[in-house]
Subunit: 485 residues, 2 copies
């Protein structure tokens, strides 16, 4: 390998410097670049293609279950945000403020939306009159800004990020809670079926709920470095927003009732988790169902065999393309096969097809799985179906590897020392009994920056241990401690 080729490749190791390795994968696989202003990134076509595909799946599931997309202004006047601040304890987001329009100072500063509850709720109040207008299921795909002064980590920590935010209104708690769980299940499906990642479902502890929420539910994904990522949240908001913004309706007896609301969101952090989970020291690994290209064909020829190989490869390309498989034929003259292998491995294409004179002679192709290099020769006859099942197999491989990592990294502990020691040594999740008091999280947070990332959804579930691992008072719940992104 020449030095130039080496520089194209990944130089950091995932197990040694996971942070540097991650940044290198993102940049060199051309998923994103750093913007000139700290905290912002440019999402390059290969990264944006991942987001578009994620969006297409989720958006279809949303629409199949009654959601309508809309678009609300990107700015929220200070007085509307203030209304939310007044009624909702703990709501005080760090936002970007527009104070000047053209050459004039604005009378009321405008916040760039950090989330849209406060601009959407007044319209819900206006649009909902009768029980017949319920449920109202709105969603928007947009970018939001949170002015947090932390180091930039593409897709994980950026001041501006892309997301979807669902905002729904319902007649009663039952319906709003069904909605909350339906969206959480769709998020789980996104991770498992599309991103090839297992997740844990649960609630956030009361002190870590979304401000104003009755219940915040979450899907959490374990990263290879032992930290947990909050992969998506779905909030049952009770009547907090209904009361604050007068979202009421006439029920079947013409009596005014306050609507129950829910909100739910997934951001491009899902892409960060995806990149972090599956990629390796050769670069990005894209699970087949979200990969911009699922298959790359690399022809291998000498001067004498070039025509035959190229013609055979082109036929294979056309067959797969027509079958709806996202396939590239890398027929560049100026690059040798080794260079191409490296480049496509870096870019994460899950399945490589090699075609040389032997393959042409035998009417076969050689398939190579990106995640583990597994290689097999298959007949060209019926290749579209073969490739379809190989892609499913690669999806399953990726999922299994992540599931194994998760399974091995859920441990239990019965004391403060054991929690600290276990997370300190292994990372991952530690389950223990908890009394329900936020103060019992503090010593863990202070010592190793781990926190309670979830509690079981079922409120009636018996806690794993009888007593709280920290204070020894009776336990009311099981908690999962972990370090987080």
């Amino acid at each position: 390998m020449s030095q130039a080729e080496q520089e194209l490749g990944i130089t950091e190791r995932k197990d040694v410097n996971p942070g540097e390795w991650y940044a290198e994968v993102v940049l060199k696989a051309e998923l994103a670049d750093y913007a000139p202003m700290g905290g912002f990134i440019v999402t390059r076509p290969r990264g944006y293609a991942l987001w578009e595909r994620l969006k297409r799946h989720l958006d279809r599931w949303f629409k199949e279950t009654g959601v309508q997309n809309a678009y609300f202004p990107m700015f929220i006047p200070d007085d509307l945000l203030q209304r939310e601040r007044d009624v909702i304890e703990g709501f005080d987001p760090e936002v970007a403020w527009v104070t000047r329009g053209g050459h004039e100072e604005l009378e009321t500063p405008l916040a760039v939306r950090p989330t849209s509850e406060s601009i959407i709720a007044p319209f819900m109040a206006d649009w909902i009159r009768s029980h017949r207008d319920l449920p109202l299921l709105l969603n928007q795909w947009c970018s939001v800004v949170r002015w947090e002064a932390t180091e930039t980590k593409p897709f994980f920590r950026t001041k501006e990020f892309l997301w979807q935010e669902g905002h729904t209104a319902h007649a009663d708690e039952d319906d709003a809670w069904r909605e909350t769980m339906l969206r959480l299940e769709q998020y789980e499906r996104l991770y498992e079926d599309i991103l090839a990642m297992p997740v844990l479902r649960g609630r956030k502890p009361p002190h870590d709920k979304f401000p104003g929420a009755d219940t915040t539910t979450t899907v959490e994904a374990l990263m290879p470095d032992g930290k947990s990522v909050q992969g998506g949240t779905s909030h049952y908001l009770g009547t907090t927003f209904g009361e604050a913004f007068d979202i009421t309706y006439a029920d079947e007896n013409e009596e005014q009732q306050v609507a129950h609301t829910a909100s739910w969101g997934v951001s491009w952090r899902a892409l960060g988790a995806l990149i972090m989970t599956h990629s390796d020291d050769q670069g990005f690994v894209a699970p087949p169902r979200i990969a911009p290209e699922q298959v790359v064909i690399v022809p291998i020829w000498s001067e004498e065999t070039k025509d035959d190989v190229t013609s055979f490869a082109t036929t294979v390309y056309e067959e797969l393309h027509e079958a709806g498989i996202r396939v590239e034929l890398d027929d560049r003259d100026e690059r040798n096969p080794g260079f191409k292998f490296n480049e496509w491995e870096l870019k994460g294409v899950p399945l490589r097809i090699e075609i040389g004179p032997n393959e042409v002679a035998e009417e076969t192709v050689t398939l190579v799985h990106r995640p583990d290099g597994e290689k097999r020769s298959v007949e060209v006859d019926g290749l579209d179906e073969t490739v379809g099942s190989e892609l499913d197999e690669i999806h399953d491989k990726l999922y299994e590897a992540a599931a194994e990592n998760l399974e091995e990294n859920v441990r239990t502990a019965t004391s403060r020392e054991e929690i600290l020691g276990t997370i300190g040594q292994h990372g991952g999740y530690v389950k223990s009994g908890w009394c329900g008091d936020e103060r019992c999280e503090e010593p863990i947070k202070d010592a190793i920056a781990a926190e309670i990332v979830l509690v079981p959804l079922d409120r009636d579930e018996e806690p794993i241990h009888d007593t709280c691992a920290i204070c020894d008072e009776p336990a009311t719940e099981t908690v999962y401690f972990a370090r987080t992104y």
Copy 2:
């Protein structure tokens, strides 16, 4: 009609008060609402569905012709905008400025993007090394902000608007010009094939080009009130941006060359033009290929016939739904058919299917075209195909009506008085000879606020008259004068 029903309907007349009528259609057809801040609107689900469908068509055509989507930050640092201001005469957009992040003043104010040339160009410069990296065809779907202090007109004049902006780099003028024209043709196709509107293609006169552009091309649509709407623009930028931002590449001889660039955009103004063109005093009219619902089925029954009619209507619904037609079955008990007719007419559904006991007995349905109320009875057998061709017929009807309006409203004039008189009396376009001097537009602009909206694309085309209608000097081009939105 009860008073309540009357209030649901449109009260203004299109031919008497087009401005008020337009606003009423937008609000009552639930396409958009005014936001609490002047200059901003909320795009409601029915309005956003139009945008999503427009986007889906254009986006597919873009991708089929090599375009890749990306996402660049919504903020542009002042110094980058300054770089554009320094090199490009006339570039000084009125923008919204973020000056505070959290509780701190920013060192460099950030402009909310008014357009993204200045943030995209430096990355193009970075990503393009060799002629093999060209062309680079980028596009983003996003919102932009222009701080213009004019009255809000939903989709036509808003401080924030949704659009797509394509930014492309090419090896030479030929390739960049091909790109410019390809996108203009796709915009024309959008208007004609999807929005059922004829457009005129042309160039903007030199004094009305996009700042820095070599050539700005446009598609213009004539509104029923006689004003022209700029429906989409595609700019050949020459090497202006290439030079200003060092977008260079090594050609096949390893020599550095400056890239030629192009940019092109369509905004949600296309929706405004659509609503304005086809709608009428009963409300919105959605052309079938962009309509959120293409067909609404309204069952008409008495107590005795309810079961039969409902079951027949449900079968029809299922057949059309399975055939991929966007169909609604309005089986609400609490509303009578007349109310439903009015409501769906207001909402613009292009084809209504009425099903009563007679239709059930005869195995027929009654079809009613939204634009002109044309009514016919057709057999239920093969209804999916019948509906498909009826929808095409409605599209053609709408297109023909708009084409007729356009055809009748392109006139010629040979003097200043004639231009003023003709536009004053009829609106529409007036063609005349032009010497090429911007000063010959001024008297028309000053007197009746009409301007040169386009000149023919073909630079070698002979002018329509030998002399300029204003100054009587020799004419070099034909110009189209019109009032504009």
